[in-house]
């Protein structure tokens, strides 16, 4: 009697908005979705709610004045933002920084990587429904922020690096306190892993979700853990070593299948490697100056463009600086934000999955909207 081709239920595609004011979007990200039931047929991220024109502002200020503005981009990893700008500027001006400054920078950057990954783990787990890890990770993050506060007076917007080195000598006893934290850190990572790695719910929610193959990852320009999770062994610290990363031993962890669980494992292992780098830096910290001999007014010599990049916790953070002749300010400063480029792959990763998986994928991409919108 009835037409066999007629669907059992009359389903209609529904268009709904996710965000921009939703805690699981990690900021002000809006995703416009077309749903078939609970399945995502199409997802379109809409960004720009936090656009402050940082690149335009850079053009109006002297080179050193740009550094505090870099803090405000990836605000959970300010130290690596500072580092990226300083590395690019040093390339432009031809400055070599003293070894002690390079080691202090590496320590700050690795502490920042730990802090950033802890925020990622906490929020990612909370988004998926595991609330407990949050209390553990923020305990350690607070200890790291205390170290930052002791060094430069700020906890989030650090402004802790200078073109040519670092602005301050380490305070008395800082190395001991840092050493204590570093020694105990692997045990803390074990704690987080106890809560999640073999957790059945965690595995069900993350394995096979948001799979990216290695070729896709490269074509979409993914960098950082999302690229390494897909099995591409690539890290700016190894490929184009800056500061003194060529002098320390560490591994670049990679995943196999490129799903959310693999990216989780990659980041966890990255934290262990950061601890390893920190231990080596603490043991080998050389004596000497913390600032190279740079002129008080930084002036470029001739027109030219440089690109300097660092491995930020989110991926490759690059600064492309265009200089004019005898200029004291960048003519143009483009930031290559890893989160912006990584977020672009979101529709490809979630289409065909459920709405709840979108939350997992946003979490696993580890985006910061301050950096995406700039």
């Amino acid at each position: 009697m009835t037409d066999p081709n007629r669907p059992l239920l009359d389903v209609e595609e529904m268009e709904i908005n996710f965000g921009p004011q939703h805690p699981a979007t990690h900021g002000v990200l809006r995703v416009k979705m077309k749903l078939d039931g609970e399945k995502i047929m199409e997802a379109r991220p809409i960004i720009g709610y936090l656009h402050r024109g940082t690149e335009k502002l850079f053009e109006t200020m002297d080179f050193p004045q740009c550094i505090p503005h870099t803090d405000r981009m990836d605000y959970v990893a300010a130290a690596t933002n500072n580092q990226g700008f300083c590395v690019a500027m040093e390339k432009l001006l031809g400055v070599t920084i003293p070894p002690r400054a390079a080691y202090i920078r590496m320590m700050l950057a690795e502490l920042q990587r730990l802090a950033s990954h802890l925020v990622w783990l906490a929020t990612h787990a909370v988004d998926i429904g595991a609330i407990t890890p949050f209390w553990y990770t923020f305990r350690e993050r607070d200890a790291i922020l205390d170290l930052f506060e002791e060094y430069c007076g700020a906890r989030l917007t650090l402004n802790c690096m200078k073109i040519g080195g670092v602005p301050f000598e380490l305070p008395d006893g800082w190395l001991d306190r840092c050493s204590e934290l570093v020694d105990g850190f692997n045990a803390h990572i074990d704690e987080y892993e106890n809560l999640l790695t073999e957790n059945r719910i965690w595995k069900q929610r993350t394995i096979g979700i948001g799979v990216v193959t290695a070729d896709e990852a490269i074509d979409w320009g993914l960098t950082g853990p999302p690229l390494r999770g897909s099995g591409v062994k690539w890290d700016i610290r190894k490929v184009f070593p800056y500061d003194r990363y060529d002098e320390v031993d560490f591994e670049v962890p990679i995943g196999e299948t490129g799903d959310t669980y693999d990216r989780y494992l990659v980041r966890i292992e990255e934290m262990r490697q950061s601890v390893r780098i920190l231990r080596q830096c603490l043991d080998r910290l050389p004596e000497g100056k913390t600032l190279a001999r740079v002129p008080k007014v930084l002036r470029t010599k001739e027109p030219g463009m440089v690109y300097g990049s660092v491995e930020a916790p989110k991926g490759e953070l690059g600064y492309f600086i265009v200089a004019t002749e005898k200029g004291t300010a960048p003519y143009r400063c483009r930031v290559r934000p890893p989160s912006f480029i990584n977020l672009q792959a979101l529709p490809m990763m979630v289409e065909g999955h459920l709405v709840a998986d979108l939350i997992a994928v946003i979490g696993t991409l580890d985006i910061v909207l301050g950096e995406i919108d700039r």
Binding site: G48, G304, M305, Y307, G318, F320, F340, R374
Partner: protein, 262 residues
């Protein structure tokens, strides 16, 4: 500011001979020059001898001392070099004769200038034949007063095998268009949208060329040099009566106006 030469007072440095034209009366100059000249020559000779001795001592000390560490030396800025011998420039010119208009190496990075109308074929060749599988960045620079075209569009790509990076530069005029490379590298999609949004460069054949950081209907392209840094009145203020466009605390004038209106 100590190394800024113009700030030091000029009276200290010039010799008496240089000073004379500026001085007011000719009599006084003769007197002073007669009095000073023999003295200054004596002094000069003595000073020259002193300076020579000092320089010799310094030289000897510098020779005896170990070479300084690079961070103690003055910074050495990079210099532009010709890069037409770069293997990628050679292979590009081999595939498309004369496509490389200029090749420059600066701070270790190679920049090849190519014509804008051939960008897609060049990019496709670089991706598939030269293995530049990863487009790191795509951006633009605004040169409002340049004759040959207002914008530079920059493509910055990476090859994984030998970790080599290559920069392509094209010149696009203000009213011209450039072909999209979003079909070559998927990642170019949002980067081109951003360049369109912030510079107003139109990418032809782009899958969805929409504004990305500002909103649809925004009037202007913020990263153009003629866009004011303090922003423009977009008409999007939430309560324009309470918070007048321009921002900041209300001025006295505004208060008066408000009072008058009430």
């Amino acid at each position: 500011m100590s190394d800024d030469k113009p700030t030091t007072p000029p009276e200290e440095t010039p010799t008496p001979d240089e000073k004379t034209p500026d001085q007011a009366t000719p009599e006084s100059t003769e007197e002073s020059s007669e009095e000073k000249k023999p003295l200054s020559e004596e002094e000069k000779a003595a000073k020259i001898a002193e300076a020579e001795a000092k320089a010799a001592a310094k030289k000897a000390a510098a020779e005896a001392a170990e070479p300084k560490d690079p961070w103690e030396e003055k910074p050495v800025p990079p210099a532009h070099e010709d890069a037409s011998d770069d293997p990628d420039a050679v292979s590009l010119n081999g595939e498309f004769a004369g496509v490389v208009l200029a090749a420059d190496r600066y701070a270790g990075d190679v920049t090849l200038t190519v014509p804008a109308d051939r960008i897609v074929e060049v990019c496709r060749f670089l991706k598939h034949d030269c293995d530049y599988k990863f487009l790191v960045d795509l951006t633009a620079i605004d040169w409002p007063d340049r004759e040959e075209g207002r914008f530079d569009v920059i493509y910055w790509m990476h090859r994984h095998d030998d970790s080599k990076r290559l920069r392509l530069q094209t010149v696009v005029a203000e009213d011209a268009q450039i072909d999209s490379v979003a079909e070559v590298w998927k990642t170019a999609n949002w980067m081109e949208r951003e360049v369109y949004d912030l510079f107003g460069i139109i990418f032809e054949n782009h899958p969805a060329l929409e504004r990305i950081l500002t909103w649809e209907g925004f009037n202007g392209h913020p990263l153009r040099k003629d866009f004011p840094v303090e922003g423009i009145d977009t008409g999007a203020a939430i309560y324009p009566d309470v918070y007048p466009p321009g921002g900041g605390p209300p001025t006295e004038e505004a208060d008066e106006e408000e009072g008058g209106a009430a």
